[in-house]
């Protein structure tokens, strides 16, 4: 069964849009839900909400800094979900975090609390195929779509299984490395998108390092769209409020729409 996240991304794609999925760290500042709403108003098709973890091994300095700041404010998974439950942003939300936070709460309870807060999907980058089965089942039971990640080194057979099991969209990691702003897009990003598009008709989004409107356009030539995280958080970490972040996202939207 196609869930809300996948249905919405497919609908937007069929309209001819390139998909834009920005990432916001939950609890980063007192006004983080205003930032979230500004991101949506500026043209996001879905938003990833990061639930900060103490040891984010897949993240570079920017998301690390955002996570530390959010945690220092007393942010918890519960506080983020409680704030999300109070708003309706109008596009699907996808929680991104590390597995221990789900494991501590219990897979089913965590999945249910995501659903109760109106979150449509989940990304747990430290759950590879071999470990994610039990979580995927509990998430599906709670109505949460589990997005799986593929990497440039993923062999063809695994890639096909990742694409088949992923829900909502398939997340292609643009290059070997951690998250973080980059001056240019790696050649591996286009290869990743092509390989995924060859095995699935689910929406294929590319993330990790996509930082500028021009890079977003470049990556979207092969992919259905992009995830943009560190470059956006950099705006917030440098003191930008909802308006500045909205401007940043609008720039990405405009470039993607212009092709």
């Amino acid at each position: 069964m196609t869930g809300r996240l996948e249905a919405e991304l497919r609908r937007r794609r069929s309209e001819g849009a390139k998909l834009l999925v920005p990432y916001v760290t939950g609890g980063l500042s007192p006004e983080w839900t205003d930032v979230l709403q500004a991101v949506v108003a500026a043209g996001a098709d879905a938003v990833e909400v990061g639930i900060p973890f103490s040891d984010p091994v897949m993240d570079g300095p920017t998301i690390q800094e955002a996570s530390i700041r959010a945690l220092a404010r007393g942010t918890t998974p519960e506080s983020i979900l409680a704030e999300l439950a109070r708003i309706d942003v109008g596009v699907p939300l996808v929680a991104m975090t590390y597995y221990n936070l789900a494991f501590r709460m219990g897979d089913l309870r965590f999945a249910r609390s995501l659903a109760a807060a109106g979150v449509a999907g989940a990304i747990l980058p430290d759950l590879p195929l071999e470990e994610s089965g039990p979580w995927e089942a509990e998430a599906a039971a709670a109505g949460v779509e589990t997005v799986l990640l593929a990497a440039p080194v993923t062999p063809d057979e695994r890639l096909a299984e990742i694409a088949a099991r992923s829900r909502g969209f398939v997340y292609g990691v643009s290059r070997m490395g951690v998250t973080g702003e980059r001056a240019s897009v790696a050649a591996s990003a286009g290869v990743m998108a092509k390989r995924l598009k060859a095995v699935t008709d689910k929406p294929v989004l590319i993330g990790f390092g996509v930082s500028t409107p021009q890079q977003a356009v470049e990556v979207s030539a092969e992919a259905d769209g992009v995830v943009v995280a560190s470059a956006l958080l950099r705006v917030v970490l440098d003191g930008g409020g909802p308006e500045a972040v909205g401007d940043f996202v609008a720039g990405l939207r405009e470039a993607l729409d212009a092709g």
Partner: protein, 405 residues
């Protein structure tokens, strides 16, 4: 004693194909690192069954690292404590600790896999020094990640690594100790995996590391089993004691005795007792017991010993604890400092602060939890040179009388 020899059981055999020891272990890694873990698993399984590989490793352990390490009867300490203390002298290995056993094996594997760069994490610096040593010997590039706190309290080892040609990268994030060094090493590895092997220093991380590192350390237990059998006329010690950070020296010596009636004791620092104060959790690639808050955020450990300053523990130890085959008491920093001095004064052996935990537990429990007259085998897995400056600071320059025990 009946031993659980099943795959993934408590008999310290092979974990299941899913890398599990009972409920613990696994491979909780980002997809980008899974192919490298699979490659390593296959390379190690093949090499471990290859007599040529084993012979090459044995030669290195003998001619380069100085194995077998002796078993020493600690007569003065025994007299004082009323129990017979035997010391497995892995502190006499080249580079000063048991870490070299693991590293030489992983260096051979690195060459076998066609890689030429090593990254490692280090706490006390012993694993970093061992890795830098192997890198020098094999001609590999070597980067060692080390928390800023540890760079400071283990300055001598930083200099040694530099002398050996390795680059030490201080880590400023989080608690600035071992756990954060592991995060940074993993971040490097995901960016460099094509050319780089992550030379992990303990029985933790994703499958196959906990199994592989235990197998590479079991030489301690195998030797000690034969040495104690000779000394005790075919008998076995009543108690086998080792300190536990990630748990590699403990796993190595336990592996030699898990099929006997010997009591297996892994001594944890009071501020890092993942077994006892931790809850099941997933970090750094495996499910184990972990110091964490109610939400699952990892807590910082606190120990006088940089090598044990870690909020988790290797998954096989979590399993041995739950299965009741091994026990994991704690000792306080103060008792460790006393043990450090006592062993120095009574036996002329300055231990590292890590194995001083094992000695401290024996001092505390001799005649209490350890009946008088028992035979106790202690894994003396490291020497104290690296800690001398830090202990001097802690003792305010007074070397003491060691009478505390």
């Amino acid at each position: 004693m009946t031993v659980d020899e099943t795959i993934g059981g408590a008999g310290m055999g092979r974990p299941g194909d899913d890398g599990r020891f009972g409920d613990f272990g696994g491979r909780f890694m980002p997809e980008a690192l899974v192919p490298a873990c699979l490659e390593l698993e296959e390379a190690f399984a093949q090499a471990w069954g290859d007599p040529g590989f084993r012979a090459e490793l044995d030669d290195l352990l003998r001619d380069y690292a100085g194995r077998p390490s002796p078993l020493t009867e600690a007569r003065n300490l025994s007299e004082r404590l009323g129990v017979r203390v035997l010391l497995k002298r892995d502190e006499l290995n080249h580079t000063g600790s048991h870490k070299i056993n693991n590293v030489l094996g992983q260096a051979l594997l690195t060459r076998r896999m066609g890689k030429r760069r090593l990254v490692a994490e280090t706490g006390a610096g012993q694993h970093g020094v061992a890795t830098a040593t192997a890198a020098a010997l094999f001609g590999f590039d070597c980067i060692v990640y080390m928390g800023e706190v540890d760079v400071e309290r283990q300055a001598l080892n930083v200099f040694r690594m530099n002398l050996l040609g390795a680059e030490v990268r201080p880590v400023a994030s989080g608690s600035r100790t071992l756990k954060d060094a592991i995060n940074e090493a993993l971040r490097d590895w995901v960016s460099s995996v094509e050319t780089t092997h992550y030379c992990l220093g303990s029985v933790m991380g994703p499958h196959p590391y906990p199994w592989m590192v235990r197998e590479l350390q079991r030489v301690i237990g195998d030797e000690a089993r034969a040495q104690t059998a000779e000394l005790l006329d075919g008998g076995i010690p009543d108690v086998v004691v080792a300190c536990v950070g990630g748990g590699s020296n403990a796993a190595g010596i336990f592996a030699g005795f898990v099929d006997t009636d010997a009591r297996l004791v892994g001594v944890q620092p009071e501020g890092g007792a993942a077994i006892g104060r931790g809850l099941p959790g997933v970090v750094h690639g495996s499910k184990s017991l972990l110091l964490q808050d109610e939400h699952g955020q990892v807590n910082e450990a606190h120990s006088v010993s940089a090598g044990l300053d870690y909020p988790g523990v290797g998954p096989e130890h979590a399993h041995l604890a739950v299965a009741g085959r091994a026990e994991y008491p704690t000792v306080a920093d103060g008792a460790v400092l006393e043990a450090f001095q006592l062993l120095s004064r009574t036996e002329g052996i300055i231990p590292a602060l890590e194995p001083a935990h094992a000695v401290a537990w024996v001092m505390r429990e001799a005649g209490r939890g350890i009946p008088s007259g028992s035979t106790v085998l202690v894994n003396l897995c490291g020497r104290g040179d690296k800690d001398a400056v830090e202990v001097m600071r802690l003792l305010k320059g007074d070397p003491g009388t060691g009478a505390g025990g």
